[in-house]
Symmetry: C2
Subunit: 377 residues, 2 copies
């Protein structure tokens, strides 16, 4: 039920099939982010229409609102948000460590203040695992200790080592919960270690020594460090990652990051960029990002992206989309979010096709030439 | 091309077919309002899915932003907003008279300040007609002088008489514009006269004396007067309205107003209530309005309205919809707007069926018993 097969490779880039309880996912894959149980401005029908095969939701946010008991009463997260394809829940580690206001860390877990009502809450590896079991996503993530991008070696080591200890506790609790229904959910570890290559390699060894895993996530990148740091880290990790496991680079990313990471053997991605940028009027196109608010689009009859098959691009002109943004109409937020999600899903489709042709390198070069150095639109 | 046939009656209530350049419309009909060229939070596909057959857009708003030259360049209003079914444009009279800030009336027209950029603009009967011709809706409305609901007889007479004089000017300009393409657009007059029955009857005679019309609108009701005043006015007007013309009650309304007005022979309606109330979390149901933010809906697995066939009701629980509103998620605004528009369109469908059975009276009594005096949900 949690199989992964590598179907084709081109250099380090791979095409794979990840089989989950709610369906199969072709990789490389981009996961739209439904933080609060909804991908902002999009409906499940929209997500199906743009080809989303796996959606991410957030344990911290759903725990503080509406609370997992409500979601359990309403039939679990799939039914709650009316998404019948695979789901992955992030553990809440990243959110807890990103919170402003009160937060107290101990070996046991983290006490923090809810951003919704200020109430004191505690998340431990066991609680995060239990909440995710109740939510019922296909993939649960281990509860991790995240440090900021520029953390020094001692701080990053402390967090990495705690994350590994917590991983053992998550695994134990998850094994208890899944004893009677193991086919319903799998648990993936998260590799931390900041920008320190040796730490990351040590963390990886300890994670792999702990148990066999059905997948592995790389956390704590794309958190403010320079892009070459992330690319260098992926280069260093790739030869040590088990080839038969899917690799999930958390919180990434922008189109150029997806291409660079696939080139370095990554299989799964999630990011709020397509929806957040869409709501700000920024659209991905093959010629780089475009801001639909710009006056040049005022009477432009062309679609946002004439290579795109989404509802936005096949239905509306740039002039109309600009009008929606200038007039502050809600439909604009939806239409640009829809296009941007479709853009990243098509980008993953295009990458899969290039890998199958064993031509990922030249494809990526062509893609970058157009995306990063666009000529006149 | 602008035919109207009455297909069945039940008392004063009528079922009809209005044939327009972009398609046929079954009446009674509710028109969703797309003020700025978009029905707020809904896409054209959404509108088709809920059975919308006629949509209203606003001349004033589209004139000040993006301006009719932009819409003309982008292929006219139908193409601009990607709506291939019939459209009606309001003339802008109501909006100009509702504006806060500078406004100067003369016999020629109205000078006013754009609410967007403060620029001085002038609308005259001729300009309003020209703008609507450029927009290209199936039905254009005459430019009218609107007074507030409680206006005294002298003020209401002045406005009614000016509206009739302006109607003559609109008609002349429209005839010039349509000389070469008369099948593209028709022009409907608007009856004013405030809450003064004699004034309304005089206005109606003068409008009907002026020309044969393909339809007639009743303006200046539902603008703050008590409901019995509106119902009384409709009772007084109905016997004098030409039976072969469709009757459009502007800005109405709530479900109970639609039922009362259909009972009094009205055929067309428009109102922002379903979308505005939907964005505020208020949903129409057969048992009266429901506020989805209420705590009682927190873990309720039932749909908003278990008689409804819309995407919202067939897909999501009240508990999930409440979560979307409490968490301030954009999808909630869309889903309640969608349901409310579908509710009014189904209400019109139900009324048509009752009229065809010649049983409108008993149907309306049953409907009111449930809607206005709901038992426990």
């Amino acid at each position: 039920m949690f199989e992964f097969t590598v179907d084709a490779t081109s250099g380090a880039a791979r095409v794979g099939t990840l089989t989950l309880p709610h369906g199969a996912v072709a990789t490389p894959v981009f996961m739209p982010v439904g933080t609060q149980g909804t991908v902002r401005a999009l409906s499940p029908n929209d997500l199906r229409a743009v080809g989303a095969s796996l959606v991410l939701a957030n344990t911290y946010h759903l725990h503080v609102r509406p609370g997992e008991p409500v979601i359990e009463k309403l039939g679990g997260l799939h039914r709650f948000m009316a998404w019948d394809r695979p789901l992955l829940t992030d553990s809440g580690g990243f959110q807890v460590f990103s919170l402003e206001g009160f937060r107290q860390m101990s070996e046991d877990g983290v006490e923090f203040q809810s951003h919704v009502d200020g109430s004191r809450r505690t998340l431990t590896p066991e609680r995060a695992t239990e909440i995710q079991w109740i939510l019922g996503a296909d993939i649960a993530m281990a509860f991790d200790h995240v440090v900021r991008g520029g953390a020094d070696e001692a701080t990053a080591r402390d967090a990495m080592e705690r994350t590994v200890r917590w991983l053992g506790r998550c695994r134990k609790r998850h094994a208890e919960l899944t004893a009677s229904a193991s086919c319903r959910q799998t648990l993936w570890p998260i590799l931390q270690g900041g920008a320190h290559v040796e730490l990351r390699l040590e963390g990886l060894r300890r994670i792999l020594d702990l148990a066999p895993w059905t997948g592995l996530a790389i956390g704590g990148l794309s958190v403010g460090e320079a892009k070459p740091v992330m690319y260098g880290m992926l280069d260093a990790l790739e030869p040590r990652l088990p080839p038969a496991s899917p690799r999930y680079l958390m919180g990434v990313g922008f189109p150029e990051d997806l291409v660079a990471a696939v080139e370095r053997g990554v299989d799964l991605f999630d990011c709020v960029a397509p929806t957040r940028n869409g709501r700000n009027g920024s659209a991905f196109t093959p010629d780089g990002p475009l801001n639909i608010r710009n006056a040049e689009h005022r009477a432009d009859p062309r679609p946002l992206d004439d290579t795109c098959d989404c509802e936005t691009c096949t239905t509306f002109s740039r002039g109309y989309l600009r009008h929606l943004f200038v007039a502050e109409e809600l439909l604009g937020l939806r239409l640009l979010s829809l296009h941007n999600v479709r853009y990243l899903i098509r980008l993953a489709e295009d990458m899969r096709a290039a890998i199958r042709r064993n031509a990922f390198g030249p494809w990526a070069e062509d893609w970058r030439r157009r995306y990063l150095h666009p000529g006149p639109a």
